[in-house]
Symmetry: C2
Subunit: 585 residues, 2 copies
């Protein structure tokens, strides 16, 4: 028996009882004849007390303990003279009678504190030490709690969790697959799933009308801060269900999680925006609606003043930054540089200051008279003290740039609080997008997404106008999940593959088993998948999903702790029937 209690549970109720604790030495302090040690475990910290006069040898032993030593201490709980109200166990300490070193520790390469001095790379290399820090513990506990509550909610709704295979078949459409050479089937490969999409559709054909799975998925793409080669998805599908059923069920899930995990109640339904409305009002299909500052278009009110920038633009619009008329030249220059960064790519920024005293000052004064500008102010519904920030150019890129500017302004103006959450649904996505480079249509969601029935006639005449029965859930500007009503008709699915430029042969080779399955009584079905890492990160308030994953990889796809990937022994390669291609890329 290594312990009778954890380091997080003792209080005044336990005074005078004998306890044994085990944990790590967080820090130790000597005050004259007394030594105090903070003993830490997963549950908290408890203070150990040693008195030089009472037991010189024991106290000496305590003084030799270094940081992160693993010790077991037995003694009596007693009330502290000097209480610490910020600690759950701050009212008591342990008067230690015996002490055993369970394991020593060399000095850690960074401090095990909430704010550590370790850089990202060091933290990743010694991830097991990083994981001892409170912020990481909080994140992993939150992740566990969210998984528990997701399963609880879905189980209560009669969903059953079914495991789908990890070693499947490569489907060249979409992102790159990771592949696994087969030793038993020489020259052939499995692929790791980018999602269990096809299998969950087959489960619907198999009659499992409410399926879910919290499951690892894999994507071999060049990595960014919020991407990992392996990530976790909450994957869900329902049969005999349409869009409304899915939206209601999973809005229920989100509300359940907000309630159980964040103690936040949402009354009434989540707002719903159509895709085109979201773009119009926020310049993005994942709007952060915790604050207003919506995009306002003034294209129709800027022409005929010989201002070439606006005259030649397909779109002129902006945002109204409340109380920013007092921004200095320097601040405005900074914003201009911000929108001109290559990631945003705007050409410039026009400002209009509507000063507190009612006067107006703008960067386009020489093109527009006061009357014209007052018209804009009216359209923006600006009040004295506000500043308009205006951009012009092609419609979509300009809206996207304004969206970035809007987010930046919300940070500068601190418009959102740490515990503000604003979920919504974005619906009616376009079914296709056009790729200029390859001159073909791509599926905006995936090739199994159903068009809205009323738009089916447009498939041949105006495919880019076809709206999909597809939806995203967005929280605080982060796309948490998305899904669609699926095609369950063999002929419509064939048509879809045709529009996407698949030959019959390609479609059959890659998705033949799904097409075949659809011939045996496929029910109508629809589903959704949530990015679990992202959802946890949003709830945890983390900017990177690496902070909610126990053992993440870095931006080169490496695990710095175990040093993977790594070379294989020649015999392994030989047995697998593959060779390294020594000719460069």
């Amino acid at each position: 028996m290594y312990r009778t209690h954890t380091c997080g549970e003792l209080n005044l109720d336990h005074v005078n009882i004998d306890v044994t604790l085990s944990g790590w030495v967080q820090r130790s302090r000597d005050h004259g004849g007394m030594t105090f040690i903070d003993l830490r475990d997963r549950y908290g910290i408890t203070q150990l007390f040693f008195d030089l006069d009472t037991d010189r040898e024991l106290c000496g032993k305590a003084r030799e303990l270094g940081r992160e030593f693993v010790v077991q201490a037995t003694g009596k709980v007693r009330e502290r003279s000097n209480k610490n109200p910020r600690m759950a166990t701050g009212d008591i300490e342990i008067e230690v009678r015996s002490l055993k070193v369970l394991n020593a520790s060399v000095l850690p390469p960074f401090t095990i504190e909430d704010e550590t001095d370790g850089g990202e790379e060091l933290r990743m290399k010694f991830r097991y030490l990083d994981l001892r820090r409170n912020p990481m513990k909080r994140n992993l506990k939150l992740r566990h709690r969210m998984a528990v509550e997701i399963r609880k909610y879905l189980d209560e709704q009669d969903f059953i969790e079914i495991e789908t295979p990890v070693m499947i078949k490569s489907t060249p459409e979409g992102a790159r697959d990771f592949v696994v050479p087969s030793r038993m089937n020489r020259g052939e490969f499995y692929a790791l799933p980018q999602s269990p999409q096809l299998f969950k559709q087959l489960l619907m054909v198999g009659g499992y009308d409410k399926y879910f799975q919290i499951v690892k998925c894999f994507r071999d793409e060049d990595l960014r801060a919020d991407r990992q080669p392996e990530f976790t998805q909450v994957d869900c599908e329902m049969a005999f269900a349409g869009q409304e059923d899915v939206l209601n069920t999973f809005e229920g899930l989100a509300k359940h999680l907000f309630q159980k995990v964040k103690s936040i109640s949402f009354n009434g339904p989540f707002p719903r925006l159509t895709f085109s409305e979201a773009i119009e009002r926020y310049g993005t299909d994942k709007p952060d609606i915790r604050f207003g500052m919506e995009l306002v278009e003034i294209t129709d009110y800027v022409g005929g003043h010989n201002f070439q920038v606006f005259d030649s633009a397909g779109y002129t619009g902006g945002i109204c930054a409340n109380g920013c008329a007092s921004y200095t030249r320097k601040q405005i220059d900074w914003l201009t540089e911000f929108v001109k960064r290559p990631q945003i790519g705007a050409k410039g920024l026009v400002y209009v200051k509507y000063n507190e005293d009612g006067t107006i000052k703008s960067s386009v004064d020489k093109f527009y008279d006061e009357k014209a500008i007052r018209k804009w102010i009216e359209i923006f519904r600006a009040r004295p003290g506000d500043m308009l920030l205006i951009m012009a150019g092609d419609r979509v890129p300009t809206q996207e740039a304004l969206s970035e500017l809007r987010l930046e302004m919300s940070r500068q103006l601190q418009l959102v609080g740490e515990n503000d959450f604003a979920p919504l649904w974005v619906v009616d996505f376009p079914l296709f997008e056009w790729d200029e480079e390859t001159q073909r249509l791509y599926a905006k969601h995936h090739p199994f997404t159903s068009p809205r029935p009323e738009d089916i006639p447009l498939l041949d005449t105006a495919p880019l106008d076809v709206r999909a029965n597809a939806y995203d859930m967005v929280i605080n500007g982060v796309e948490i999940g998305g899904g669609s009503v699926r095609i369950h008709n063999e002929h419509l699915q064939k048509k879809m593959f045709e529009k996407l430029g698949f030959t019959d042969e390609q479609a059959r080779r890659q998705f033949g088993f799904l097409m075949e399955a659809f011939r045996y009584g496929a029910p109508p079905h629809a589903g959704v998948a949530f990015g679990f890492d992202r959802w946890v990160a949003v709830f945890a308030g983390c900017s990177t999903i690496r902070d909610v994953i126990a053992f993440p990889k870095n931006n080169s796809g490496r695990d710095l702790m175990i040093d993977a990937p790594s070379g294989l022994a020649p015999e392994q390669l030989k047995e697998l029937g593959i060779r390294i291609d020594e000719n460069g890329k």
Copy 2:
């Protein structure tokens, strides 16, 4: 809205209400002017009723429906005149008012019935149809329920589920790894985990003192009936815990599952057998203790009678088959052939019939007088009517052969009922086993298993006598899970690698990060992992884990439904920097 109710819930309480159901046509029957259709979904079957006189057109439409058509029917619930007490919905039927075909179906390649006419290969190719059958539905629901209850129990015990990575580093020790070429790190490979062993130990170092995960694991080995290249493990680890803590915690888990899923209560602790006791009494380290018929050794009572077979044997022993004195010559010959099969490999079988009338008849009458044989009967505690089945040879193979014979006799004598369950722990496994071929020691469990402290001095002098702090849970003769106390001391771990013939360099290259982690305050820890597929199969009464996996692979590692593994496009190979080795194996 596709349905108001499922096909499994309507009863007399619903009579006269209007309902809409959706599902598959299980079968249809015409009786004169009436047509009955059994409509099936995940929840059950409900009878639809159509009357030719009432609505000729509707009834005609119903008569055209084929098996497995997907339909939506609306009508009124009414009491059946001809009730079916074997169906949950057998008291009612639906008087259908409108019928919509949601999807047609071609004729399935096998019948969707409890006992199907489809062979294994056909069932696998059309797995989505096989999954519609009740036995498969029951198995997958059971699997879900077991996962729910495992998580519930462990969460209540303060375990947290933490996901460990799927793309890790290849460790040549043990079974073969599946590997994944890295595009971003050319010439390097990830490996898929055979278990999260190292990561869960690192989580213990990281302070997460109660970890679990229901997780996919991978092993590239030649497959047998109860093996799959990907399988699911309930992986668990505890810090500040020893063998007793683990056994108590997970015996609790097993009891919880028996109670919640099978409604079976176990009072008192599970039996515990040491490894050597299990071998002595049952000839196997995974004994089926649902019945007795234990092995009895008579080596000391057979010598000096000029019977060469027994005289030269290191072990002579057998089992007492109750009531089998009446076995015919033919039956005994069959048993002799059974034990001589190559899988068992015995040389022969000696019988002693202790007839009901007290007389004795044996196959070794010419070597042993009645007195000698009566001595055996006494040792076996045989009663009139019993038969002794005796084998001789080297100790271990003979015990193993007797174990197989014992299981066969239990089947012939039907000694176990369908709902009998007998769990136990097997403890004190040997730390090492000796491999004749490579002339070296291998870890019986794995290289991180701790020897029993009192046996540590034997590591150098008599390593094969060293017992491990290792344990298995066995139910009905199936090893459900196993685990061990781990080494948490850097030096003992080094010693262990040394005994296993690792060079320092090899140990450092493969497990360097674990050895390194142990230097930073590793707590004492211990764990266990359960084969989830096997556990579900035991609870479901299935002989193969394929029947409890939604999409299993066949014995060649192929998924017949999606036809994986498969070839890759040349561009994919090029991008990955690998080539197929065209020279044969």
